[in-house]
């Protein structure tokens, strides 16, 4: 009994201490969002709120740092492919695409034309897969569970196509310096056209249920304004930059492989708010369907898809930097070679890490309830940013 009393006293003492600590500054309250938060991913940001308004924000990335860049120094150019796609498994073709481009420039390898087309098709599929996943999470962030189910279901259309093309559902390991691993299977073109045309019709329904829904619009319109000047100053990229009224797309600015032969428009909006940042990826998906149809149409009927390479290919010493447009913006690889079969240095420059710089800028001064709408509209993928 005595023991029991003692325990109660101790707990009360502890409680008083906590209350004292908390009421040190009774106006501000500190909140830690993540890393176990259901929405933030493997990422934490500390915010201070004054009533309903956020007055301070400190992003704290680094929970899923894996040392991909250092790991790449101990493996040959081809062995690097499976582990370099791990940071963003939903967009794994794009993250190996720019690596392949950089290594090809470094080692002086030419890619056959049919291989370039297949690579571009796979990268468009992967951009769709990533954007649908991102959109599904954006829907559930704002409490719209139908918008979680629909994109997650329609993503299966593209995963099915990628499975037929590459043999794997998420981590494809498909792009390789010198082209792609295998040719397209029989009847793939018809299957593609059928499923992509169906997906285009589905996108109109997304507009009805989500983008024209007043409940969604009221939560995102005029929330988190990132002006054109601020967007340039902070160095954001991808859909966040395009939502701030700047038509900038790597596929248009620095066309790689076959993108200079493809006719498409860079989708951008001038409203600069969270709604624009969520609507630009949607417009990109529509444009991407159009690009896929063109790529399938223009692809040569037959030919090589891959330049034959030695398994431990060596190059001249030198450096190269190549970037592609991924689901989250510009994704670049800087590769340095010293003439050995392994790269001397690999630096990955990702879109997510650039976009998160805008988070403190946007959150400070906005309401706590707008936090999910702003945070996920930045197209941030924590695992990719930490690398």
């Amino acid at each position: 009994m005595e023991n029991f009393d003692y325990k109660i006293n101790d707990t009360q003492k502890l409680g008083l201490e906590i209350i004292k600590e908390a009421s040190f500054d009774d106006r501000l309250m500190t909140l830690s969002v993540g890393p176990q938060h259901p929405g933030s991913g493997h990422f934490r940001f500390v915010i201070k709120i004054d009533g309903d308004y956020i007055v301070f924000c400190d992003p704290d990335p680094g929970y899923v740092h894996r040392g991909e860049e250092k790991m790449a120094e101990y493996r040959t150019y081809i062995q690097n492919i499976p582990h370099l796609e791990r940071p963003v498994i939903h967009d794994s073709t794009n993250i190996t695409y720019s690596y392949s481009l950089a290594v090809e420039e470094l080692l002086g390898i030419a890619v056959p034309r049919r291989g370039q087309f297949i690579r571009a098709i796979a990268s468009e599929f992967n951009r769709q897969i990533y954007t649908l996943y991102w959109l599904a999470i954006y829907g559930i962030f704002l409490g719209h569970s139908t918008m979680f189910m629909w994109p997650a279901g329609d993503r299966e259309l593209f995963i099915d196509l990628m499975e037929a093309l590459t043999g794997a559902r998420v981590t494809h390991a498909f792009n390789i310096p010198g082209g792609v691993r295998n040719d397209i299977p029989n009847g793939f073109k018809e299957r593609c056209l059928r499923q992509v045309s169906y997906f285009e019709k589905r996108l109109n329904e997304y507009e009805d249920i989500f983008y024209n829904n007043p409940l969604f619009r009221q939560r995102t319109e005029k929330v988190g304004i990132l002006t054109k000047e601020d967007a340039i100053k902070l160095g954001v990229t991808g859909s966040v930059l395009r939502a701030s009224g700047i038509p900038y797309d790597i596929r248009k600015v620095e066309p790689y492989d076959v993108y200079d032969e493809i006719d498409f428009k860079v989708q951008y909006l001038k409203t600069c708010d969270s709604f624009a940042r969520s609507y630009v990826p949607f417009l990109d998906m529509k444009e991407s369907c159009y690009i896929i149809k063109q790529l399938l149409d223009k692809m040569p009927e037959s030919g090589d898809v891959r330049t034959k390479l030695q398994s431990n290919v060596k190059g001249q010493s030198g450096e190269s930097y190549k970037r592609v447009e991924s689901g989250r913006g510009a994704l670049g690889y800087y590769v340095v070679s010293d003439g050995s079969p392994k790269p001397y240095r690999v630096k990955i420059s990702v879109g997510s890490f650039r976009n998160i710089l805008a988070l403190p800028h946007l959150l400070v001064g906005s309401k706590l309830g707008d936090m999910p709408a702003i945070y996920w509209s930045l197209n941030y993928w924590p695992v990719e940013a930490d690398r």
Binding site: I81, D160, T166, A168, T171, N182, D183, I184, L215
Partner: protein, 172 residues
């Protein structure tokens, strides 16, 4: 915008969203009833043609090892060293003419990432991948496949494909 027009606009938006969603009550489910029905794959699994230097499209499931072709050259194990360290060369009891050292790959599926680069590395058409992806086991040791287990050709009977008609898409 005054409050009356704002209200009508909001109400019509919500009604349109409900209308668009409720159409789906009449459409077949997209869901695949997995253990009863399985997806149909392209071909018999990922293969590689070392002469042309190009792979043949197929699902990357567990491997199949052709004992009469494997020479024990260890190229698959050397490739895997920098990737997953899943392949280990082990002694085999039977003797093959082409395999002087009597060693063949043993694959640990607890480590394998199914990238298929070991298949690309094999110059003797001895290692391919198959459609068998259901590898769950109760213990970690059951995930290690010996050369004898890898020689068995799996039976896979998936028939379901995504079908699209004017009412929507479904697995059937």
């Amino acid at each position: 915008m005054n409050s009356t027009t704002g209200f009508t606009k909001s109400a019509s938006g919500i009604i349109k969203a409900i209308e668009s969603g409720s159409k789906h009550l009449l459409i077949r489910r997209f869901t695949l009833f997995y253990p009863q029905k399985k997806l149909k794959f392209v071909g018999d699994g990922y293969q590689f043609d070392p002469q042309k230097g190009v792979g043949i499209a197929g699902t990357r499931g567990r491997h199949i090892l052709f004992h009469e072709k494997c020479t024990g050259c260890q190229l698959c194990a050397i490739t895997c060293e920098g990737i997953a360290e899943a392949i280990e060369m082990v002694k085999i009891t039977e003797s093959w003419k082409q395999n002087k050292k009597s060693i063949m790959p043993q694959i640990d599926y607890g480590k394998c990432v199914f990238c298929g680069l070991c298949v690309d590395a094999c110059p003797f058409y001895a290692l391919y991948m198959t459609n068998d992806y259901e590898l769950a086991a109760f213990t970690k040791t059951h995930l290690i496949y010996t050369p004898a287990q890898l020689a068995v050709k799996p039976q896979y009977d998936g028939t379901v494909e995504i079908k699209i008609d004017d009412r929507g898409a479904y697995h059937g």
